[in-house]
């Protein structure tokens, strides 16, 4: 089956190459788009077929590797493909969501200029290559290379509307923040090589070194998977087209950090302090991002902070010492969050604005979109029998089993908030009186609704697929419903829904909420901290460094030049050009040599 698993790498790679080289095809727009969509669909089919034949947990991985870096006859790193119980489901998620998003983009991006459309789909193909290469990576080096490649795709696609200054700034911000975090990741990979002599996803022996490597790798995870305080780039990344937000910044790329932890699980398993830190950081992220999502006016920003929050759940679950819950939540979240983003895109497409305050009453105009969005919102809120219920409750159950009561309570609170802010969005966008913009709204074309339907189907039933996710204990779906945190989370979610419906749907509870606090949260306090850190910490430091460079380093260089200049100015007096002066110096020189010889200077 490994040959099938290679299709999602090589087919989009060929597509990207063709679109990159044949510029008339790229500039033709729709033909380029259809080529890319066809390769994405074929990749998805191949990935699903590869998944059905993939090894389950405990079976040896299927692989095909080639020597990459060879030194003294010893292979330092390999490049290739590894299909096992961890990579196979992720490959399906990536290619399936990518295919849905590309089909959706045919409708959503139809009004773009034709060259821009070709460029957009070329980058989408490159993203599938990078993501598949990362998922199937047999070692950390290939993983890192593909990790950077998805970062590049993220940069390019966030900045897709390059004539919009805010989009360019958001793209650069995403690169800066993740790059900052990647310093840790790269140091971790180097340290891994230094201690083990290879790039395998495992470490044996010294647990101190494993802790250090795991901590450094987790720095990269915090950047890519948008953990507090490095989450600041993700909301800004919403400047990109909505399908890009759905694919990269909700379903797959931001989950790459979580996937890295799952992939390098033997390293993280050997580092209990890092796992404890992960539980807390994840839980805090889940709560902080959920609180921030409560007060956003931009529908995409709500979903972006929601993504942060759910990534926090995953990281917290991974910190409990079992990767199954986090990984399971990753897959279900990919489906329902991609659905939510595509539905939000459909709403934006219909009303022409991101602002929730200008929406309202859309349920009458766009029935299907409203239904799909509400389905996704219920899955995200954790209402059974949708997929989010099972995965979220598994996360909470793992936290309970790990005796991580603090993070468990935080995550429960975040679960209630999640239901609250999703209901708020649903009420503000789809219920209530129709706004001026809503009156002119129209339902999206089938080419956009069909992929949303496919994602809705998976978001609804993915909770029942636990058997294929590399778990070592047989976990049946109904198993979760009877646990205490599961019931508590469900009650909190229902309470959140009811409360939000009363406030935003029926206009009661006007006293609920603190406007000053909401305004403070909306202003982006964490961004403010970074800006202040830059102004008060980094800039004075840069001033000192600049002074040293200008006056000490450059001063030393200039000193030599000055000495040569002044010295030669003095020396040129000797060159009078007069014969007798020259003779005089010659004789004096000879006398010095003779005198030196006389006092024994020459032996």
């Amino acid at each position: 089956m490994i040959e099938l698993a290679m299709v999602p790498v090589f087919l989009p790679l060929a597509t990207f190459g063709v679109l990159a080289v044949l510029w008339p095809l790229r500039h033709s727009g729709m033909p380029a788009a259809w080529l890319s969509v066809a390769s994405a669909l074929a990749s998805c089919v191949a990935a699903i077929l590869a998944w059905t034949g993939a090894p389950v947990a405990g079976e040896p991985a299927q692989g095909m590797v080639f020597d990459w870096l060879v030194h003294d006859g010893k292979t330092i790193a390999e490049v290739g493909f590894r299909l096992d119980a961890i990579s196979a489901p992720m490959l399906v998620v990536v290619t399936f969501v990518a295919a849905c998003v590309q089909v959706y983009s045919l409708g959503y991006m139809a009004h773009e200029p034709r060259p821009a459309l070709g460029r957009y789909f070329a980058w989408h193909s490159l993203f599938i290559v990078a993501m598949s290469g990362m998922v199937l990576a047999p070692n950390m080096l290939q993983f890192l290379a593909c990790w950077e490649l998805v970062g590049l795709c993220s940069y390019l696609l966030i900045g897709f509307y390059w004539d919009k200054p805010s989009a360019g700034r958001a793209a650069v911000k995403a690169v800066w923040v993740t790059r900052f975090a990647d310093i840790g990741l790269m140091s971790g990979v180097v340290l891994l090589y230094v201690t083990t002599g290879g790039f395998a996803f495992e470490m044996t022996g010294d647990s101190g070194a494993a802790t250090l490597v795991a901590a450094l790798l987790f720095c990269g995870v915090m950047g890519k998977s948008a953990q507090v305080p490095l989450h600041v780039w993700l909301p800004d990344a919403m400047e990109g087209p909505t399908p890009v937000s759905a694919l990269l910044h909700a379903a797959t790329m931001v989950a790459a950090g979580v996937f890295l932890v799952v992939r390098a699980w033997p390293i993280f398993e050997a580092a209990p302090p890092v796992l404890t830190a992960m539980t807390w950081i994840g839980a805090v992220t889940a709560l902080v991002a959920a609180c921030t999502a409560l007060v956003q006016h931009d529908i995409k920003k709500v979903l972006a902070y929601s993504t942060c929050s759910q990534l926090g759940y995953m990281v917290a679950a991974l910190g409990t010492g079992s990767f199954f819950g986090g990984y399971f939540h990753l897959t279900t979240h990919a489906f329902f969050k991609a659905l939510l983003f595509l539905a939000a895109g459909s709403v934006i497409h219909a009303v022409g604005t991101n602002d929730l305050r200008e929406m309202g009453g859309l349920a009458k105009k766009t029935k299907l979109t409203a239904g799909l969005f509400i389905l996704g919102a219920l899955a995200l809120a954790g209402v059974p029998p949708l997929s989010g219920f099972f995965s979220k409750d598994l996360v909470l159950e793992e936290l309970l089993h790990a005796h991580a009561y603090g993070p468990l309570l935080i995550c429960l609170a975040a679960a209630g908030l999640t239901a609250f802010y999703m209901t708020r969005v649903v009420c503000m966008a789809f219920l209530g009186p129709a706004s001026a913009r809503s009156l002119e709204a129209h339902e999206s074309p089938p080419v956009m609704l069909l992929p949303m339907g496919a994602l809705a189907l998976t978001a609804a039933v993915a909770g029942f697929t636990t058997g294929r996710f590399g778990n070592d204990v047989a976990l049946a779906p109904w198993h979760f419903a009877v646990t205490a945190p599961g019931v508590a989370a469900l009650l909190l979610a229902l309470g959140g829904i009811a409360l939000a419906y009363m406030k935003y749907g029926q206009g009661k509870l006007a006293g609920l909420g603190v406007p000053a606090l909401a305004a403070f949260i909306r202003s982006g306090p964490v961004d403010g901290l970074f800006v202040r850190g830059w102004q008060q910490g980094l800039r004075p430091l840069a001033g000192v460094v600049g002074w040293v460079d200008r006056y000490v380093v450059d001063g030393a260089v200039n000193l030599f030049g000055w000495a040569a200049l002044v010295g030669s100015e003095r020396m040129r007096v000797l060159q009078s050009g007069k014969l007798r002066d020259a003779t005089y110096l010659l004789v004096m020189g000879a006398l010095v040599v003779v005198a030196w010889g006389a006092i024994g200077g020459v032996r």
């Binding site: 040129r572 009078s576 007069k578």
Partner: protein, 102 residues
Amino acid sequence: MNGPPLEAWLALSAALFAVGLFGVLTRKNLVAILLGVELMANAANLNMVALGHFRGTPFGQAAALFSIALTVAEVVVGLAIVVLLARTHKSVDADAPSEMQG
């Protein structure tokens, strides 16, 4: 072995050299400077002949003969330069040419 001792010859040679050097350093006339150079060269020749004689070898005289031949050539070149300088600067003053001033 009659006649003055070696030290006397060497003293004469040193005196001759010093006179030549004094001439080279003090005269402004290029021809006079060349004469000084000749005196210094002949001081060296005298040195070689005297040392060869007192060591009982003929090589000192042979070297002096070579040196005289070389000195002749040197004078030819030197006088040729003087003539050229005299033509270009209309003077045989050693201070006249200053093109090499730095």
